[in-house]
Amino acid sequence: MSQAPPAQRASLLGERPADPDGPQNALQAGWTSLREALHAEWTKLRTLPGTIWLLAGIIAATVAVSSAATAAMSCPSRGCSVDPAKLSLTGIDLSQAVVAILAVAAISSEYSTGMIRSTLTAMPRRTTMLAAKAAVVTGLVLAAGTIAVLGSLLAGRLFLSSHGFTPAHGYPSLSLGDGPVLRAAAGSVLYLALIALLSLGIATIIRDSGAAIGTVLGLLYLSPIIAAVVRSPHWHNDIERYAPMSAGLAIQATTGLRSLPISPWAGLGVLAAWAAAAVLGGGLLLRLRDA
C-alpha cells in the first residue's frame, strides 16, 4: 500500500484547503477521500497472500459441511419434519468462523505490524478508513458468500432429492424461485456479511487478533450451548432471540416459522444491531485512542 502514495498524498494536500470553501466542496472532498480510502484498502486486502485462501475457505467450508449434512439425512416417508433449506445451509455454521478470521485480520494485522500508523498518517480521517475497510471486507464476503450459498443449495438439491426428499414425501426440490428458500439463501449471504462487520468492529475495539477472534467466536458459539442447558424456557427463548448466532440464523428457516422464537428478518435485524454496535464502538475508540 505504501507503494501507492502519490494519489493519497494528493488527496491529503487537496482536501485540507478544500474544506473552508463550503459544504459542497467538503462533501465532494469527503467522497474523494472515501474513494481513495476504498482503493487503498482494496489494494491492501487484495495483495495479502491469505485473503484469497480465506475466501476460498469460506466457499469450501460452507459447501463441504452443507453437503455432508444433506448427505447424512434421509427421508424414508412422509412427515420427516426436516427443513431442507436450513439443512442445506448448515455449512454457514463453520464458514462464519472463516469470515471472522478474514475480518479480524483486516484490522488486527495492521496493529500487530505497526502498519496502522502508516495507514493513519496517509489517511487521517480514521472513520473513513474504517468505513472503507468495512466496505471492502463486506464486499468480498458478499461475493464469496453468494458462491458458497449457491453451491450449498445446489449440493443440497442433488443429495436431498436422492435421499427421499421428493415431492411424493412433501418436499419439492430446492429452488430459488420459492420465496422462503430465496429468503434463506439471500439471508445467509447477508448473515455472513454482518458477521464480517461484527468481527471487524470487535477487532477494532480489542486490536489483538487472538483475543478478538476468541471474543467473536465466544459470542457466536456459546449461545447455542448455553441455550441447550438453561432450565427456564423464558431464558432459553431470550437467548435464542438476542444472541447474534441463533437470532441471525433464524433467517434460514423455511418451515415451522410460527414456532421460531424470532421471525427470520427480525432475527437478522438483531444481528445487524450487534454488528452496528460493534462497528460504531470500534469507530469511536479508533477516534479516541492513540493507534
Binding site: 434421509s74 487472538g210 447455542p224
Partner: protein, 547 residues
C-alpha cells in the same frame, strides 16, 4: 533428535545447563511475566464458574400438589426420591403381592398372560386407554429386602418386548428366554434364596429349568418380602421437531399379569398374601396418574385371587432414574450441568495457549528462544507442558468451585440433582480440567503449525466446539450426531457425563440430553490422540522450517 542437532563444541558440563528443567523454567517465566496471559487464565477460570452458576441459578421451577393447594417453587418442589443400594436415584414403584419369607426358600410361578394399557399425551383425560404393552412392562417374582422404596432386591420377570429377564438392585439386567408371553407359550419363573444369594431360573414347560443368573445381595435381612409383582413404565413416543430437539409425548401405562401354579417354599411366618402399591405416587413422573387414568377404562392397580390364579395390575418401574429432560415428571439435573460454562473457559484458554507460541513469532522472540535452546522439539515440549499444567490448575480450581456450588443452586431452584458416587464426581471435575489442559496443548501445537493467532485460535475452537454444537443441536440425524461426537475432539466432553445410559430404561439417550456415544475416558482419549497428532506435526514443521 539428539546427536545431529546439538553442537559438538559444547563441553559436556554445559549440557546440564541446557537441561529440560531449565527449559521448563524459561517457558514458565515467559508465561508468568506476560500480564495478558495470566489475566487470560484467570478470566478462563472466572467465566467457567460464572457461566456455570448462571446456568444452574437461572429460572426456578414451580409446582402445585393439587389444583387447590398453593403454588410452590424452588426446593419445596423436590419430591422424595429413593436411593438404591448402589447410591443412584431409582424409581421403585410397583404393585407387590407378598408374604414375608424367613430364612432360605424359593418362589415358583407360571405366567400365562401379560397385557397392558397405556394413555398417550394426545388422549383426553378419562377416555379409554389404548391396549398394548410397553417394551419394559414387567411382571414376575421378586424377593426384596423390605417394602421401603430403594431397598435391595432380585427379580425374575417377563417383559413386554424383551423376553424373560433377571434383574437386581435396579441397575443389573440379565436376559433369559426370549419371546412374548401368551397362553400358548407361558413362562415359568423361579427365584431361590439361599443366604445372601438369589438364583433365578426360567422354563417354558415347568420341568426343564435353566439358570438365568445368580446375584449376591450383601446384607440381605433374614426375613425378606417375597411375592408377585407387576409394573409398567410410562409410554413415550419421540416426536422429532425441525429445530431445537425432539419432544416426547406419552402418558402412564399399566400392565396386568396372570399368575398360576404359585408355590412358595420355605418358612413363611404369615400364610396370607397381602397387596401393596410400593412407592405410591412419590416418585412422580412415570405413572403418577396411573390409577386415576386407569379408572376410566375399568383397570387400576391391585390384585385379584381366585382358585390359585392371581391377577396383578401395576404401574411404575423398578429401575434406575435416568436423566431425561423430555420425559421426566419433575425437573432433574446432573452434576455436570453447571460445567457447561467450561466452554467459555475453553475459548479463553485456547486464545492464551495459541498466543503463548504465536507471540514468539510476531515479536521475533522465537529466534532468541531457538538460539538459546537449539533442540526445537524440546522447546515445543516445554511450551506444551507449561501451557497444559497452568491450564489444568486453572481448570481444576474452576471445576472444584463450580460443581458443588451449581448443585446447591440447582437444588435451591427445585431441580433434583441425580446423585453419583464420589469417584464419579472426582472424574467429572478432574476430567474437565484435563480436557481444558489437553485443549491448551492442542492449541500450542496448532499455533506452532499456523504461526498466526487468528487462524490458530479459530481452528482449535472450531474443531472442538463446532462438532459439539452440531452434535447437540438436533439438526443432524442422531447417527451423524453420534459419529461427530465419536471422532472429533468434541468427544472429550464425554468425560463430563456422570450418569450411564441404561438399556433397561427407555429414554432419549441422545447427545442433546447429555449422553455421549463413547465411554468417558475413551472420549477423552480421542482428544488426546488429536493433540498428539498435532504435536507431532508441529514438531516436524518446527524442525524443518526456518523460524
Amino acid at each position: 533428535m539428539t546427536a545431529q542437532v546439538t553442537t559438538p563444541y559444547r563441553p559436556p558440563r554445559e549440557e546440564a545447563r541446557d537441561g529440560f528443567a531449565q527449559l521448563l523454567r524459561a517457558e514458565w517465566t515467559k508465561f508468568r511475566t506476560v500480564r495478558g496471559w495470566v489475566i487470560g487464565m484467570v478470566v478462563a477460570a472466572l467465566v467457567t464458574v460464572g457461566l456455570g452458576l448462571l446456568i444452574a441459578g437461572g429460572g426456578s421451577s414451580t409446582c402445585q400438589n393439587s389444583p387447590t393447594s398453593p403454588v410452590l417453587s424452588g426446593a419445596a418442589c423436590l419430591p422424595p426420591v429413593p436411593v438404591g443400594p448402589g447410591g443412584q436415584a431409582v424409581t421403585d414403584q410397583f404393585y407387590f403381592v407378598r408374604q414375608p419369607l424367613a430364612g432360605n426358600g424359593s418362589i415358583t410361578v407360571r405366567v400365562p398372560a401379560l397385557t397392558g394399557l397405556y394413555a398417550n399425551g394426545a388422549t383426553a383425560v378419562g377416555s379409554p386407554m389404548t391396549r398394548g404393552l410397553q417394551p419394559w412392562s414387567k411382571a414376575g417374582v421378586i424377593i426384596q429386602a423390605s417394602t421401603r422404596p430403594g431397598s435391595a432386591y432380585g427379580a425374575m420377570m417377563v417383559t413386554g418386548r424383551r423376553g424373560v429377564r433377571m434383574q437386581d438392585d435396579y441397575t443389573h439386567d440379565t436376559a433369559g428366554l426370549p419371546g412374548a408371553v401368551s397362553a400358548a407359550s407361558p413362562r415359568w419363573l423361579r427365584l431361590t434364596r439361599s443366604g445372601d444369594t438369589l438364583t433365578g431360573y426360567d422354563s417354558a414347560d415347568g420341568t426343564h429349568w435353566t439358570r438365568v443368573g445368580t446375584v449376591r445381595l450383601a446384607g440381605l435381612p433374614s426375613t425378606v418380602q417375597a411375592g408377585l409383582f407387576a409394573t409398567s413404565p410410562a409410554h413415550s413416543t419421540v416426536i422429532s421437531k425441525s429445530f431445537g430437539g425432539g419432544s416426547t409425548s406419552g402418558g402412564p401405562s399399566l400392565d396386568t399379569a396372570v399368575f398360576d401354579h404359585v408355590s412358595l417354599s420355605g418358612t413363611s411366618p404369615g400364610a396370607a398374601w397381602t397387596g401393596d402399591a410400593v412407592g405410591g405416587q412419590a416418585t412422580g413422573g412415570a405413572a403418577s396418574s396411573g390409577a386415576g387414568s386407569g379408572a376410566g377404562s375399568g383397570a387400576a392397580e391391585g390384585f385379584h385371587q381366585a382358585d390359585g390364579r392371581f391377577t396383578v395390575t401395576g404401574s411404575g418401574d423398578i429401575a434406575p432414574l435416568v436423566f431425561d429432560p423430555a420425559g421426566s415428571g419433575f425437573p432433574t439435573s446432573t452434576i455436570e450441568r453447571g460445567l457447561q460454562g467450561a466452554f467459555a473457559g475453553l475459548i479463553a484458554v485456547v486464545v492464551v495457549a495459541v498466543m503463548f507460541i504465536t507471540a514468539e513469532y510476531r515479536r521475533g522472540m522465537i529466534r532468541t528462544t531457538l538460539a538459546a535452546s537449539p533442540r526445537r522439539g524440546r522447546v515445543l515440549a516445554a511450551k506444551a507442558i507449561v501451557a497444559g499444567a497452568v491450564t489444568f490448575a486453572a481448570g481444576l480450581a474452576a471445576a472444584l468451585v463450580t460443581v458443588p456450588l451449581a448443585q446447591r443452586l440447582d437444588r435451591a431452584k427445585g431441580s433434583y440433582v441425580l446423585p453419583v458416587t464420589s469417584l464419579t464426581e472426582i472424574r467429572v471435575i478432574v476430567g474437565t480440567a484435563a480436557v481444558l489442559a489437553v485443549a491448551a496443548v492442542l492449541a500450542v501445537a496448532i499455533g506452532t503449525v499456523l504461526r498466526r493467532s487468528a487462524g490458530a485460535v479459530t481452528a482449535v475452537i472450531v474443531v472442538i466446539v463446532l462438532p459439539y454444537i452440531l452434535g447437540i443441536a438436533s439438526v443432524l440425524p442422531v447417527g451423524a450426531e453420534n459419529w461427530l461426537l465419536r471422532v472429533t475432539p468434541a468427544a472429550a466432553f464425554a468425560v463430563q457425563q456422570s450418569l450411564p445410559a441404561y438399556p433397561q430404561v427407555n429414554a432419549g439417550y441422545t447427545p442433546t440430553a447429555g449422553y455421549f456415544p463413547l465411554a468417558p475416558w475413551a472420549g477423552f482419549a480421542v482428544l488426546c490422540a488429536w493433540a498428539a497428532l498435532a504435536l507431532a506435526l508441529a514438531t516436524v514443521l518446527l524442525r524443518r522450517r526456518d523460524a
